[in-house]
Amino acid sequence: MTRIEDPARIPGDVGKNRPPSLRVQLVLYMNDMGSVERCLQSVATASALARSLGVVSRSVLLIGDSSEIPLLVEPDSLSDWLVGTPFDSVDYLHFGANLGSAGGQNRLFEGMEEDLVLVLNPDTYASPRLVVELASPLADPSIGIVEGRQVPLEHPKAHHPVAGDTSWACGACFLARAEVIKATKGFDTDLFFLYGDDVDFSWRARLAGWRVVHRPTARFFHDKRLTPDAVLEVTEAERRYAAEAAVLLPWRYSRPDVAEANLRSLEDSGDELCGTVAREMRERQKKGKMPRPLDPDHRVAQFIEDQFAEHRFSYSD
């Protein structure tokens, strides 16, 4: 790990009523560096504004890199970059392996000392008030995770029109209390690699008693595109891990009926990738490696028309 610190900025003795400290975490994987730089600039700006308004006190940035070859080949450049940013330190960690989004974030969670953590995808651009807006609902101690609103293509998941409560928080951008990370131990990397990890994390947080809310004024740009048919472009990896999650999530949340139905749909789809996933899942079942069921009373988990929440609209017809 490469750590660049600005000693002058680390508060020596923090009072009891100080604003919370903030940690910002990004996991890179073969990203375009121009896009990463813009993302870092934006989150630095958002953190600086939050700090100048007294919303957060100290803030640190952690960048994990799952790429085979380190994307930041000259860590010293981080030192230059740190000048003019609000971060008291910037850590860069090349994992040396592709840990996936969940694994990478978990690795970065290790040794967390800050009060809040902002989990952000590198293909995003934070609005200047992102941190301020995400932090605002946390004045309510019952709220553990606050999800931002992505543009131009909003997530179709429903939320309470005023209170913001929602089934789960999308992992592209959310702010969580450190206690939530500690209580849940972060993402479940045994089960999830890229997709469904955020749903499971949110539901375990809710089972532990926290509320998860959507904050529509916490905007961030998420670089999603549409096909000419106005359908969301998805990668093969996203398709694969979405198929896995369609079986694993209902199994974990005590809905084996839904898991079995989804598994059969995968088997009957005629799609090669879905077929492969179905075979792997059956194998897992045979070996007794399916996850231990949670939420037997169905307090938090929702399985509505292949989704894990009620949706306001669907990106497919």
Binding site: D32, G34, S35, R38, Q41, S42, A44, T45, L49, T124, Y125, S127, P128, R129, V151, P152, L153, E154, P156, P161, V162, P216, T217, R219, F220, F221, D223, K224, R225, L226, T227, P228, D229, A230, R312, F313, S314, Y315, S316, D317
Partner: protein
């Protein structure tokens, strides 16, 4: 002197004008009511200072305005390098002297001596500057002279080398000097509308008034056989509309203008101006960006505007600037906008300018923005639109492929609804349906002539089209201004497209948008107006356009053929059915006739007659049965 006297006919077709010679008498023109002299005198009268005594006429020739000046109660003092005119003036009882403006300071010193302490009223330079190789130097010296004499006005008359007739003939390779006129063979410097402004400003003269002398047909309007000169031909009409739209002065024969002396601009400013003039698309200093994004706002939707800006800040190609066009926005709302922009990262905010626009309709901000923009291309993103991350880069790719064309990308639309009170007591909004792509992926001009298929965020225009060819957004249109400009731009520039979805056009189920605030009759009226306007001038089809028209006509012909065939089939079917009916009627008639014949035969038979008493006895019984059945139970 550009004006022709009635006795000085234009050269005949094919004849090249006499290239001059040195006969000064050719400039002996008379003062007349509809001449540049009359306009110059009108300006002189309008700007005469109090207490002036002498009007100095530099390059006076034969002094066509000497008598009109004297009629104003002023003395006239003519100066010319040619003795013939001076001699003529002296003979008419005017003051005049021979002097050569190649050394302006000497001339002005001579003038001071000739004035002998009299107060100068004004200086005239009518048809003179274009004959001087040191015109700017003379104007600078004259500025000091005029300032010294109490800031007296200068009135000039200068031929316009960009008159439509000259422009059209130059395009055809005909640049024909004549003895006098717009292309007088003794002119050493030629002036365009912007050229005269630049020269006068650089010499410290501030324009106070103008009465340009216009001629729809100048002395260069020959030979008459030139199709391109004839406005009634499509080619002539097209060239005329291009020249008129591009820049002022298409029909100005003489720039007749009045100026007052001001401070001389600093040398650095002159240099900057010269640099800017050299590149009409790029301002002095700094490379011009590829794209200027025009974001018009009335600051009524700050929530969506920040998302528009966010989508721009996140573009994967950053070679653009943003002009936030604040339309009638003042006070706190203006300050909020400034704060909103200022909160973004410096790498973005340094490329964002807030431009204040007052008055006018929806199009005014776009025209203002286009003229202060620096980019090679212009694109519009309204304050509730959002770009996908590849919006700028896709435009850039198209511009690299086909520079100068209109760039067209696909746009998705999504319906939103407002949610009053949802966002911490403020009005929020959210999508109520998935995005859709109702607009065609590819651009088809003929389809667009029928109706608009491209939202404003779906195309980018070369800025040159607006600033150099005068093809801006029509401010008289309350709606459809983007369609109108797209049609004009497509005609002159052509279109290059790519079938990728690049922006999101938000539609509002509730709330304000152009589709909700304008009534249907306004849309219909705008549509009719645009079609009439396009029809008023020739409309260019791009390469392949004719084939497109032919295909469309062919399709129409096939449809008409199919319709006619279907019509024929229907008519044949009707005829067949009618014949069947007639045949059935005939058969029925035959059957009826036969039946009647059989009845008659039965009635006239012996057995029928013999059984008549029996049928009479049965009738009362039948009546009783009938009554019973008629009674309800």
């Amino acid at each position: 002197m550009t004006e022709r006297s009635p006795s000085d006919p234009a050269p005949a077709d094919g004849e090249v004008g006499d290239l001059g010679g040195s006969d000064p008498a050719r400039y002996d023109f008379a003062f007349g009511e509809h001449t540049p002299y009359a306009n110059a005198m009108a300006l002189l009268r309008a700007h005469l200072p109090r207490g002036g005594e002498v009007v100095v006429d530099l390059g006076c020739g034969f002094g066509a305005v000497a008598e009109p000046v004297r009629q104003l109660g002023l003395a006239y003092l003519g100066v010319d390098s040619q003795p013939a005119g001076v001699k003529d003036l002296l003979g008419r009882g005017m003051e005049a002297m021979v002097d050569d403006l190649s050394n302006p300071e000497e001339v002005l010193a001579d003038l001071d001596r000739a004035l002998g302490g009299r107060q100068v009223a004004a200086v005239l330079m009518l048809d003179a500057i274009e004959h001087l190789s040191n015109g700017t130097e003379v104007l600078v010296a004259l500025n000091r002279f005029a300032a010294r004499h109490g800031r007296v006005p200068l009135v000039v008359s200068i031929p316009n080398v960009t008159h439509l007739d000259v422009a059209v003939k130059t395009l055809l390779g005909r640049f024909e000097y004549t003895e006098t006129g717009l292309l007088d063979s003794t002119h050493v410097r030629m002036f365009s509308p912007s050229g005269i402004d630049r020269v006068m400003r650089s010499a410290g003269w501030a324009e106070v008034s103008r009465m340009d002398f216009e001629l729809s047909q100048s002395d260069q309007h020959y030979p008459g056989s030139l199709v391109a000169l004839e406005p009634s031909t499509p080619l002539g009409g097209l060239l005329r509309s291009i020249r008129i739209g591009s820049c002022e002065g298409a029909f100005v024969n003489q720039f007749v203008r009045a100026y007052l002396p001001g401070p001389l601009p600093a040398a650095a400013a002159e240099e900057a101006e010269a640099s800017a003039a050299a590149d009409s698309l790029g301002p002095a200093g700094g490379a011009a960006p590829f794209l200027s994004v025009l974001v018009r706002t009335q600051a009524k939707r700050p929530h969506t505007l920040v998302e528009t800006l966010l989508s721009l800040a996140a573009q994967d190609c950053q070679d653009f600037e943003v002009l936030v066009l604040c339309h009638d926005v003042g006070g706190e709302r203006r300050a909020s906008l400034e704060q909103m922009v200022g909160e973004f990262h410096e790498s973005f905010t340094r490329r964002v300018r807030l431009v204040d626009v007052c008055g006018g309709g929806r199009s005014r901000p776009l025209n203002v923005g286009a003229h202060v923009a620096r980019g090679r291309y212009l694109a519009v993103l309204d304050d509730d639109d959002m770009a996908f991350g590849n919006w700028v880069s896709a435009f850039r790719r198209l511009a690299d492929r086909c520079p100068g064309r209109v760039l067209r990308l696909a746009v998705a639309e999504q319906w939103f609804e407002e949610r009053p009170g949802a966002w911490a007591g403020q009005t929020g909004y959210e999508p109520v349906d998935r995005p859709r792509c109702p607009y065609p992926m590819d651009f088809d001009l003929l389809d667009h002539l029928w109706e608009n298929h491209t939202p404003p965020s779906g195309f980018a225009l070369p800025r040159s089209l607006v600033v150099d060819l005068g093809q801006g957004w029509d401010e008289s249109l309350p709606v459809l201004e983007d369609w109108d400009l797209l049609l004009r731009a497509s005609s002159w520039c052509g279109v290059v497209d790519e079938p990728i979805v690049s922006a999101l056009y938000r539609r509002w189920r509730l709330g304000e948008s152009s589709s909700t605030v304008h009534a249907k009759h306004e849309w219909d009226a705008a549509w009719r107006f645009i079609v009439a306007k396009l029809d008023a001038a020739p409309y260019l089809l791009p390469r392949g356009g004719l084939a497109g028209v032919r295909n469309a006509l062919n399709e129409r012909s096939e449809l008409v053929g199919r319709l006619a065939e279907s019509e024929r089939s229907r008519e044949e079917e009707i005829t067949r059915r009618e014949e069947e009916i007639a045949s059935l009627r005939s058969a029925l008639h035959t059957t009826a006739t036969e039946a009647r014949a059989q009845i008659d035969e039965i009635r006239s038979s012996t057995s029928w007659r013999l059984t008549a008493p029996l049928r009479s006895a049965g009738k009362p019984l039948a009546r009783i049965r009938h009554r019973r059945s008629a009674n309800p139970r």
